[in-house]
């Protein structure tokens, strides 16, 4: 890929102005992104996969900066690398599943060749689509342009709070639903002796009582038939 990039670099330098700094940045960032992506897939230890994912996310953030999406690059580092991957690592280490996976065994016969074929077909289709189809429809922009006259943050903020105000509000509802769902899913089933409501676990969740009462009832009812599996849990996190 380096050779082809260099070839295109030479070809382009005769016709238009070439920013060598931009090209070098792009090639290095693309190599980092690809190496990280491959590392996520081939690493046997999930912790290594998560660290490779961080590498990929930083590379994508660099590519965002290269395309004048400054705010998104910062958000990418803060939200993805700072919050999501840390959440991944927290779950990996909390559950103690950071043991190595034997990648050599193949439980489903013929799955890997089929996966290779399908993915190769899909990738070829994507690249061909980029080659033969028209990328633009000619429709005018409704969201505002990416001029360099104002800052990227100002443009993005104006667009989010005017054109895309309703989706933005819906997003907040989505986040609240996700938080409530995570709390319901992740809380421990209450002990059999304690009926829901006066155990110490409810204080830990710290959410609105009217919401949690219903959630506790559901989680309690769902957890009753499978009570003996607490022993299995003791093996996971001693």
């Amino acid at each position: 890929m380096l050779a082809t990039a260099h070839g295109l670099l030479l070809a382009a330098s005769t016709t238009t102005h070439v920013d060598y700094v931009a090209w070098t940045t792009f090639v290095v960032a693309a190599a980092i992104v690809l190496a990280g992506a491959v590392g996520v897939v081939v690493a046997r230890n999930p912790v290594h996969s998560a660290l490779m994912l961080v590498m990929t996310l930083f590379g994508v953030a660099v590519l965002f900066v290269l395309q004048r999406a400054d705010f998104l690059a910062v958000v990418q580092v803060i939200v993805y690398a700072g919050a999501i991957v840390v959440l991944f690592l927290f779950v990996i280490m909390f559950l103690g599943v950071d043991r190595q996976e034997n990648v050599a065994i193949e439980p489903l016969r013929g799955q890997r060749p089929l996966a290779v074929a399908l993915v190769a077909l899909g990738a070829t289709g994507l690249l061909l689509l980029g080659e033969v189809s028209k990328w633009t429809t000619g429709a005018p922009s409704v969201a505002g342009s990416t001029d360099t006259s104002t800052s990227n943050v100002a443009q993005l903020g104006r667009s989010v709070y005017t054109t895309y105000l309703f989706p933005f509000e819906v997003t907040s509802a989505l986040l609240v639903i996700a938080v409530v769902g995570a709390v319901v899913l992740a809380r421990r089933p209450p002990a059999v002796a304690n009926p829901p409501g006066d155990g110490g676990t409810e204080d830990v969740t710290g959410e609105d009582p009217s919401v949690s009462d219903l959630a506790v009832e559901e989680a309690y009812a769902a957890s009753r038939p499978a009570e003996p599996t607490d022993e299995a849990h003791g093996e996971v996190a001693p």
Partner: protein, 110 residues
Amino acid sequence: MTAVNGAINGGINGAWYLSLAAVVFAIGAFGLLIRRNVLVMFMCIELMLNAANLTFVTFANMLHDIGGQVLVFFVLVVAAAEVVVGLGIVVAIFRRRANATADDLHLMKG
């Protein structure tokens, strides 16, 4: 970096970004298909989301339209919500059974 018209930015054609995003998406899809560990499968989904984000930002830059970047903003929020709920499910599953791969989870019951 100077803003130039069309698909050229700093001498880099937008097709390079789109090709890179397609390759990263393919790698993520491949990992999702072959890996057994549920957490690694989640990370592969994140790879695919990032490839889509890179495509959106590239088109926003090529078409001089901020809408692509706004869409990436929303994708980030949805990805965060998805990871929170997904990891909650993973924690709930691993609480019941010690060493679960995606193959062991073929029952709706825990």
